[in-house]
Symmetry: C2
């Protein structure tokens, strides 16, 4: 890990440290745009062609069958099934509290206004399948869509032939019935644009590699496309720790994030030189035995720790960086909560590793990266819904509002807006 | 207005009727991309150059001064000031109910999780200045940002020299201190990317012409850019009416939407041939006296009414169309509310014109167009905030979760995720 001294950094250098690596290259963009426009025009046929080219997909049915769902359950150990069920339970409990409340109030006498949340009818949930299966992502997107009550939830994931049984088991728990074996940019395009025999969805959720992310951004700004949850870059972790922190815990947390891929980003902020040294030693020790040490080592090498004067400097930097994950490994960590301004998810105290949030504490692991934590939330139930406003005005109400509406409409030179009120007062 | 019979429509024709006109052309895209990359590279200087070129901006100060704010107040009639204040009050009352609730729960013994909503620190609010000033839009975006508690709210609008006084008065009511006189694609880029002397914002809100909308989509998918509220197309109104509806009310409502611009879209659905005829007559009558009849007439001519067999057909079409505004001019309109699946804002009963929601009922008039009502809400307080999740786990809690986390991490081949738990159990 590189080492910086916060007080010695120029503003320019600080800005540089906050900057993320580019999500996608021009060549990726070009490839993705070609795929998107191809699938937009030629539909399922074209999506299958790309799925065959990129993922070796060769089945005669893009849908996971009933039989595949029930076989998946048989293939899994009881240990895995019970872990998926436990995680499901905690995630469900946490997310159920997010169901948004409708309200109806009288703003003035005779004018009733309200907002009612309705599930998005058709949603797509993307589950990546890179180096390993991700049943946890299935839960993190399946549970809130289930709570929201979306009528049709289409899960899609790249596959040569079979979908990993743990993913199918998690999908079944979430009530998923429609699961298709096409992923990548072609999967995103198919869901966003639809095809003759495949109804398009209204919003797509889920993480993915740079092809998936780029395709999501392409369809999200095409009015013929659909909405997306967020633009997701590589995973990030920032740890703020003090002298009381166990260096082995800190090192283990940094590594848990670093193993995701070479482009992950981990940062340690502390006022303790001693801790930096000890964490460095522990990193070297723990790295040795990791199966994914190639990724973890590359990330650690490109990441940095920073010596700060005090905890305020640390929060100052962290809030500007706006990390996806923020661990507060500080004595009496809770008392610093009000200092958090920008972060995706916060892990408080020494017994709260980030991996708890990845799987089982109950919070969502689909979180804003790339500094989007400044403006965006992680996935929640309300993202699978939309708030529709209502107003119901009686004769007395429109009379009371009339002067305001007519004056403002005339100020804005919108006479017909005024007339729509006047005609009702006659 | 063209006239269709719902039961006679082919699926293909229905699809066609639901399709919106393209928001922007390739040539607009090209121009906008050039402006965005110019301003991204050269900052304020370049934004001013374009503001001069497109809007004739020539002042030596891009900021509205204290003096301009107080002068604005003096320029306005007491009638306008009181209308702005009344509208502000209703909008405030309605939106205050949207402040999202934080929560903290124990998912299992020793594992506390929560979500806390924090205001987005830096937001940009765009107020278009086309054919007329829009103080109402200032209120619709200013009020929720004020309730959310955003630290810095930058309002921006194109101007040759002065900003319209009604807009400045509305801005002042919303507590706005930073108001800059640059709009268009150059304004969007300046706010999204920032400049040497101008700190970028985290999210941009507000409607605009095709240059503004295209610029918003460009910066929203550039990780160096910022988030946006929504991609907004031309305004839309769908009216479902029955035999009991007053044809003059229906015609006035259609015209109030039609006068926005030639690309607006209005639709009437009814089971009554008689109503269609009477509304047609009334439209011709009312059109005569409208100052913006050029726009209104063009919109009416390109729009359509449709004869349906019953109210179910009407809702069927309306929900597929997903209109920005939906008027239910039906006897006992309230009893049909549960039939609404996709709409931005709904106007219930004969004394509820759409223009009430545009100005003063209390609901927001920044609403999803172009079918985005299938997946998105109109502007609300929570869009100026983000939900940060928290978890605090004690030693007992991490022990209880350990089996689930370790099993799932190992299923996903993420050994370091498992180790971060194991190291804490030693």
């Amino acid at each position: 890990m590189k080492k910086y001294y916060f007080t010695k950094l120029s503003d320019k250098k600080k800005k540089e440290l906050i900057k993320r690596k580019a999500i996608s290259s021009d060549s990726v963009k070009k490839t993705v745009e070609k795929i998107c426009s191809d699938v937009k025009r030629n539909g399922l046929k074209s999506a299958i062609k790309y799925a065959n080219k990129f993922d070796g997909f060769s089945s005669d049915n893009v849908y996971v069958t009933e039989k595949e769902f029930s076989e998946a359950e048989k293939l899994l150990s009881s240990e895995i099934k019970s872990a998926v069920k436990s995680a499901y339970k905690n995630i469900y409990k946490f997310h159920a509290k997010q169901y948004p409340k409708d309200y109806f109030i009288e703003t003035i006498n005779g004018v009733k206004c309200g907002r009612k949340f309705l599930p998005i009818e058709n949603v797509g949930v993307y589950i990546p399948a890179g180096t390993a299966p991700l049943p946890s992502t299935m839960l993190m997107l399946g549970v809130p869509s289930q709570i929201a009550g979306c009528k049709r939830i289409v899960v899609f994931s790249p596959a040569k032939d079979k979908i990993n049984p743990a993913i199918l088991y998690a999908a079944k728990l979430c009530g998923i019935k429609e699961f298709i074996k096409i992923g990548g940019a072609q999967g995103i395009s198919l869901l966003a644009y639809g095809s003759d025999n495949f109804k398009k969805v209204d919003k797509i959720f889920g993480p993915g590699n740079q092809f998936v992310t780029t395709a999501k951004s392409v369809v999200s700004i095409d009015p013929d496309g659909c909405a997306i949850d967020m633009i997701a870059g590589p995973s990030e972790l920032l740890v703020i720790a003090d002298n009381f922190a166990n260096p082995d815990f800190v090192a283990a947390d940094l590594l848990s994030q670093a193993e995701h891929g070479k482009d992950s980003m981990v940062i340690l902020l502390t006022a303790s030189e001693d801790l930096i040294r000890k964490v460095g030693d522990s990193l070297n020790q723990q790295l040795k035995n990791l199966p994914r040490k190639v990724f973890a080592k590359a990330t650690i090498e490109s990441s940095f720790c920073m010596l700060v004067d005090d905890v305020n400097d640390a929060f100052n930097f962290s809030n500007t960086f706006a990390p996806e994950h923020l661990i507060l490994n500080l004595k009496n960590a809770k008392k610093y909560l009000n200092k958090v301004v920008n972060a995706g998810s916060v892990f408080i105290g020494e017994y709260t590793p980030e991996s708890a949030g990845d799987y089982a504490s109950g919070t969502n692991h689909s979180l804003p990266t790339f500094g989007f934590a400044r403006s965006s939330s992680g996935v929640g139930v309300e993202m699978f819904m939309k708030g529709v406003t209502f107003q119901s005005i009686n004769k007395k109400g429109i009379k009371s509002l009339s002067k305001t509406i007519i004056t403002l409409a005339e100020t804005e030179s919108l006479q017909a807006h005024a007339e729509a009120v006047k005609v009702r007062l006659k």
